[in-house]
Subunit: 805 residues, 2 copies
Amino acid sequence: MTVSHGGQTGRCASTALSADVVRRLDVLKVQSSPVSAMANITKKVSWSGRGEEGTPLLNGSEEVKYTRQDAVRSKPKEIPHNEKLLSLKYESLDYDNIENHLFLEEERRMGHMSFRCLEISRWVICGLIGVLTGLIACFIDIVVEKLAGVKYVVVKKSIDKNTEIGGMCISLILWAALNSAFVMVGAIIVAFFEPIAAGSGIPQIKCYLNGVKVPRVVRLKTLMVKVCGVICSVAGGLAVGKEGPMIHSGAVVAAGVSQGRSTSLKKDFKIFEYFRRDTEKRDFVSAGAAAGVSAAFGAPVGGVLFSLEEGASFWNQLLTWRIFFASMISTFTLNFVLSIYHKKTGELSSPGLINFGSFDLKSVKYNIYEIPLFIVMGAIGGLLGALFNVLNYWLTIFRIRYVHRPCLQVMEAMLVAAVTATVSFAMIYFSNDCQPLETQKSSEDYSLQGFCADGEYSAMATAFFNTPERSVRSLFHSPAGTYKLETLGCFTLVYFFLACWTYGLTVSAGVFIPSLLIGAAWGRLFGIMLPYIALNPSVFTDPGKYALMGAAAQLGGIVRMTLSLTVILVEATGNVTYGLPIMLVLMTAKIVGDYFIEGLYDVHIKLQSVPFLHWDAPATSHSLTAREVMSSPVTCFNRVEKVGTIVDVLSNTSTNHNGFPVIIQTAASEEPGKLCGLILRSQLIVLLKHKVFVERARSRLRQRKLQLKDFRDAYPRFPPIQSIHVSQDERECMMDLTEFMNPTPYTVPQDTSLPRVFKLFRALGLRHLVVVDDDNRVIGLVTRKDLARYHLGKHGLEELHLAHT
Amino acid sequence: MTVSHGGQTGRCASTALSADVVRRLDVLKVQSSPVSAMANITKKVSWSGRGEEGTPLLNGSEEVKYTRQDAVRSKPKEIPHNEKLLSLKYESLDYDNIENHLFLEEERRMGHMSFRCLEISRWVICGLIGVLTGLIACFIDIVVEKLAGVKYVVVKKSIDKNTEIGGMCISLILWAALNSAFVMVGAIIVAFFEPIAAGSGIPQIKCYLNGVKVPRVVRLKTLMVKVCGVICSVAGGLAVGKEGPMIHSGAVVAAGVSQGRSTSLKKDFKIFEYFRRDTEKRDFVSAGAAAGVSAAFGAPVGGVLFSLEEGASFWNQLLTWRIFFASMISTFTLNFVLSIYHKKTGELSSPGLINFGSFDLKSVKYNIYEIPLFIVMGAIGGLLGALFNVLNYWLTIFRIRYVHRPCLQVMEAMLVAAVTATVSFAMIYFSNDCQPLETQKSSEDYSLQGFCADGEYSAMATAFFNTPERSVRSLFHSPAGTYKLETLGCFTLVYFFLACWTYGLTVSAGVFIPSLLIGAAWGRLFGIMLPYIALNPSVFTDPGKYALMGAAAQLGGIVRMTLSLTVILVEATGNVTYGLPIMLVLMTAKIVGDYFIEGLYDVHIKLQSVPFLHWDAPATSHSLTAREVMSSPVTCFNRVEKVGTIVDVLSNTSTNHNGFPVIIQTAASEEPGKLCGLILRSQLIVLLKHKVFVERARSRLRQRKLQLKDFRDAYPRFPPIQSIHVSQDERECMMDLTEFMNPTPYTVPQDTSLPRVFKLFRALGLRHLVVVDDDNRVIGLVTRKDLARYHLGKHGLEELHLAHT
C-alpha cells in the first residue's frame, strides 16, 4: 500500500531541470561539477503542464525506485548557496495540535482546575524565562565591561609610556594582539563546537518562530557557546553588538525551561510534561525572544512587538500577555541586578542595558519643517542600508564558497580583529580633533588623550576606544561642537566597512549597535552640516537629534523592521516625543531599501535556502491551485498497516517525508482510499520503538497500550529509523494506527487557489495539509516547501527549486 | 431539494427549553409572559443526545414548516436581556474571501502592477483615515473647550455677583440649567435619531472587529450624532470623556472612506471599488479605530495595540504597518492643527489631546520597595473596578427593562446632568480646602475662588469645575499639599457614583477619563496617606506618582485591557520609566477584577446578547465535536437550482440563514449530495435582482452574465428578499450557481473537536464552516452562534440559548 514518490517525476523533467540548474550555476560561477549539482537536486516540479500529473497512484505496490544518479564528487561544503534554491534539510515545526485519541482522552479527563493549573504553570515558566534571560544579559554586560576595563587600562598605560612614534607601534601591536586573542577564543569555540551560534542569532530565531526547525538552535550547548562567544567578540573590540545574542539566549532559555528537562544534560525534572510539543514550545520561545529584546534594550513593549512581528501567525491575547510578562520580568531582573552592581540597590528606573540617555526636555522639540529633513535622512539610511546588505551578501557568498573550514574562519576573525585595531589606531593617529578635557567627566568615560595636548582628549579616540554603546550615547547627547566634521566623516566611512566585514564572521555578534553607531555618526554629521546650508542656521543647533534619526535610519535600512524598532528606540531613549519622526524615518528607510535588496536577516535566511513563509502568498498567485502546488503522489498508510511496509517507507532516504495520510480502503479495491487521518514520522518511530504491533493472525488482540507520555519523553529528539531494529518476524506483524493518528487533519479541495491554501497553512501554523478530491480521497500533500517555493521576482511569479544541500 | 431547518428540533426539546427559560426568566423577575418568551426562542440544541440527530435530510422535498407559536404579546422592547441568551439578530462579517469564478478571473487578469496600485490605494486610504480622524478629534476638542469656556465665564460671573447664600442658589440653578440644556440636546439626538451612537462606542467597535455586523454602527449618520452628542455631553458637565467616541468616529470614517462612496448620501465616487467587501472593510475599520485611539491619547503605538487586542485574529505585518501609518498621520494632523490653534504653528512635540503632562525627570524614580505598594494599588483598582461594573450592570438591566422609551431616556440624562451640577456645587460649598492662588497660573486654569478668602482658590472647585482632563493633570502634577485628604476622599466617592450612573445613559460618552479621574483621586489620596503610616515618611514625598498608578489601576479594573492600556498610558504621560509599574498595576487589577465580573465593555456586550467569539474555545470543551455543535439539518441548493425554491428558502423568516452549501447530486438519488460550494444569501439576492436565470427548457443557453461590480455595487446594504418581485413564470426558471458560489469552502470532518473547529473558525475569520462526513457529504453548518454559545461558567461548560431578541 505504499508507493514511491518524491523522486523524479520523470526523466524528461529531470533532464530539463539539470540543464536549467547548470545554467544558473554557471551564472554564479560555481565550482562544483554539473554532475554533482544534478545529484543534489532530487525534486523539480516543472512550472507548467503539471495539472494532469496529480492522478493518485495510491494503490500500486511498486518498490521504491530511488536512483542516486552519481556519488557526490565534489566536497559537499562547496555546494553553491544559490538563493534560487530551497533546502530540503529543514523540517517544519507543527503548530497544529495532534488531536489523536490519546490526546483527546487526556484533555477530556482534565477538569477545569487542571487547565487552570496549566495556565499558572505557563505564567510561572514565563516568569522563570524572564529572570534567567535578565540574569544572562547582566552576566554578559558585566563581564564585557570588566574585560573592556582591563584592556583599556593595559593599553592606556602602554600609550602613556610610549608617546614617541616608535613606541606607538608597541602600543598598536599590544592592542591588536589583545583584540585578536579575545576574538580567537570566541571564534574557536563557535567554529569548532557550535557553528549555529555564529552571528546574531536573530535570523535563526526568526526561522524558528516562522515554523522552521533549525537544527541545534535552541540547545544548551548553543547557549553556552553564544554567551562566551559574544563576550569574547565584544571584548575583542570588533564592530559588533551584544544585543542579537541576548535575544538568541532568551529563546534558548525559554526552550529549555519550558520543557522541564535538559536532553543535553540528561536531566528530567518530570515537570511541565504537558508542554513537550512544538505548539507550546514555540509559544515559550516567542516569550524568550521578547525577554531577550527587553533585556537588551530595556524595551518590554518593543520585545513583545518584535516577537509578534517575527513570529506570530495567530494573535492570541493571553499568549501576548504572557510574552509581555516575561519581558517585564526580564527588564526588572536586569535593572535590579544592575542596581546592586552599581551600588544603588533598588533604584529601578534605569532602563535596560542600552541606556541611550534621556534627551533634555527642552531639546526634544521638533518642528514641521524638520519632517522633510527626517525623511531625507530615512532615504539616506535606506540607501546606505541597502549598500551594507549588498556588500554583506557578496561577502557571505564568498565566505560560503571559500571560507568554510573552521580554521580558515578563525583566522579570518582574527584578521578582522587585527585590522579593526590597526585602522582605529591609524584614525586616532591621523585625526587632529582635540577637545578640551572637562573636569567633571565621569569615571566611566574612557576618554583618551591620544596625540592631543595635555588637558585635551582626542574625539576620534573616544569614538573608537569606547564600547559602541557609549559612543552612541556620546553622539546623541554631547553638546554641539564636540565632534568635528572630518572626524565624523572618517569614522562613518571606516566603521561602515568594518561592520560590514564583521557581520557574518564565525563569531557570536549582533549588528544592532554597529548600525546605530554608523547611523548616529552620519546623522550627527548631517546635523552639523545643516546650519551651513540652511537659510536660518540658528534653528539647527542640536545635532544630537539628527544623530538619533540617523541611527534609526541606518538600522532601519539594514534590518527593515518598523513597528517593533520604533518602539524599541522610543523605549531605549526613554522619550515618546520622537516617536513620530522615528516612525517616518524607519518607513522611508524601509521603502527605499526594499527597492534594492531585502533586509539583512532575510538575505541571510535566503542564503541558507530556508523555506521561510512570508505573511501572504505572492499577489499574483491566484492562478495556481492546490493541485499544481502539492507534492504528489503521496505515500499513504492503511489504518492497520504492515510493520515491514512502514519500516521500508521510513527508511527510504530519497523521500524523507514526515507526514503520512492514513486511508480506509473502500470496497472497490480499484479506487484509492478515503482519508481518515494523518500520522507523523516521529509518531511511527515511537510506535516502532515500543513495538506496538500484533501478529497478523491475532490482529483482533489488543496491541500494547502506549501513553501520551511515551511520545512526550521521546520529544524532541526522536531517534532515526536506522537505530530501531525490527526483526523479520516483526516485519510481518500489523500495526493499528487508529489511536495515534490525527483523525481530523485539515484538508483542502484540489481546486483551492494558492493564496487560500497559503492563508490556511500560515494562519494555523500547519506542517502538512492534505489535498483531497470530491470524494475525500487523498491526491496530494502540501508542505511548507511547496508554499515557500513561490515568490514574486522581478519578472512576476518565480519558483524556487528544492535541493538537498 | 430544500428542507426546513432551524425551527424546533422536536416538540419535546422545545417544551423542555421553554420550561428552562421560564425558570431563568423567573430568576430575573422578567416582565414578559412565558408564552412570549417561548415565541422568542426559535432554536435550542439540547445539551446531550444530539449526536444521533445529525443525519442529513437533504433529499426531502417537504415544505418549510414554520410554526409561529403565538404572536408576540408583550412589547418587543421589554424582552429580558438575559446574559444566558445569544441574540440571533446579529449577522457575521465574512473575513474569508469568496473565491468564486468571478473573483478568481479578476485576480488572474490583474498584473503585478495592479496589485501594487491596490497596495498604494490602501496606504492612501489609511492616510486619509488618519487625517480625517485627526480633524474630527480636533473639532471635538476645540468646540468642547470653547463651550466649556463660555459656560465657565457665565457661571463665574454669576457666582462673583451673588456671593451670599441666597444668591448662590441662583448660580446653582443657572449652572444646573446650562448643563441640563446641553445634555438634553445631546440625549435627544441620540435617543431619537441614532440610538446606536449612545455610550462610548467601544463595545460596538469591539464587536465589529470581532466579526459581528452591528447594524448601523459605521454609518455617516451615526458619526454625525456621535460627534454632536459627545460635544453636548462633555460640555454639559457630565462625568464623561470624549475618547471612546473618538475611537468610534475613527472607525466610521474608515468604513466610509475605504468604500469610496456614501450610501447615505447616495454619492458614489467610483473609486476603491475593490475594497467593497467585508475583508477589506474590516481591515480599514481596524486602522480607523487605531487612528481614533492615537488622536485621543496621542498614542500611535497604543492605538495599533488596541486594534490588535480587540480585533485581530490573523496578525499580518503589512496590515499592522498600515494601521500604524493611519495612527501616526492621525496624531500628526491633530498636533499640527492644534499647534496652529494654539498659535505655535509647526511645533509638533505636544502629544495628542490628553496631554497628562510629563513627569519631572527627577521625580520619575521609583524604588523596589514601592513595587508591593503598586501591586496593592492594582488590587484596590481591581476591586473598585469590579464594584463599578457590578453597579453598572444592575443599572443597565434596570434601564433595559424600564427606561427604554426615548423620552424617558432623555429625561434620565437631564436628571443626571442636574444632579451632577448640584452635587458638585454642594461639594464646593461644603469643602473648606482653600489654597493660596499663585500668580503665575496660566490662563487656561479654571481656578475658582469658590467660598475661599480672596487670594485663595478652592481645590474642590478646581477638581469639579475643570474639564476632567485638566483635573487629571492637576492630580498628577500638582505639588504635594495642593489637595487635602478630605477633598480627595469626598471627590472620589462622589465622582465614582456619578460616573457609574452616567455610563450607559443615552448620550455619547466615554468612560476612560472618568475612570482615570477617580483613580487619580484615590491614588493621590493613597500617596498622601503613605507618609502617615510609613516608618520612614521622608521617602514618600511625591503623591503625583501614586495618582498615576491609581488612575491606571482604576481604568484597568474597569475596562481590563493590559498591553494596549500600558502603552497608551506610557505614551500619554510621555515617559517610559513608569512602564513597568503600570504593567504590574494593570495586571493585578485585571486578575483581581476578573475574579468578580468581566470588564465593563464585555458586560455590555453580553447584555446585548452579541455572539462574541473569544480568543480560544473554553478549555474543557474537547469532549464536544463538530457533530454536536453544528446546526443541522442544513438547507442546501443544487448547482442548478429552481428559482422558486431559492425564493422560498430565502423568504422563510424562521430560518434566517445566510449561507447555503451547494451540492452535486450523485447517481444514487437516495444519497445526500456531495459538497461542491457555498453561496451566500446576499449573492442570491443580487442574482435574483438581476434575474440571472434561464427557462427550464432552454437551460443550455447561457444565462445573463453578471460582473463582480454588480455584487460590489449592492454591498453592503443588500435589499431584503421581500423587495424582489419574482413572477410565477420566473419561479419555474433555473439558476446556475456554479460561477457565483465559493467552490472551495473550508470544511471539517464531523469528529473534529470543538477547540479545533474554533481555532479554524477564529483564525480565518469565517462565517460558515461546512461539516462533512467521510464521503464529503454535507451534514451540518457551523456558524458564529454555534461556537459563541459555549462558555466556561462557574459550574464548568455552559451553553447559552439562542433567541430572537
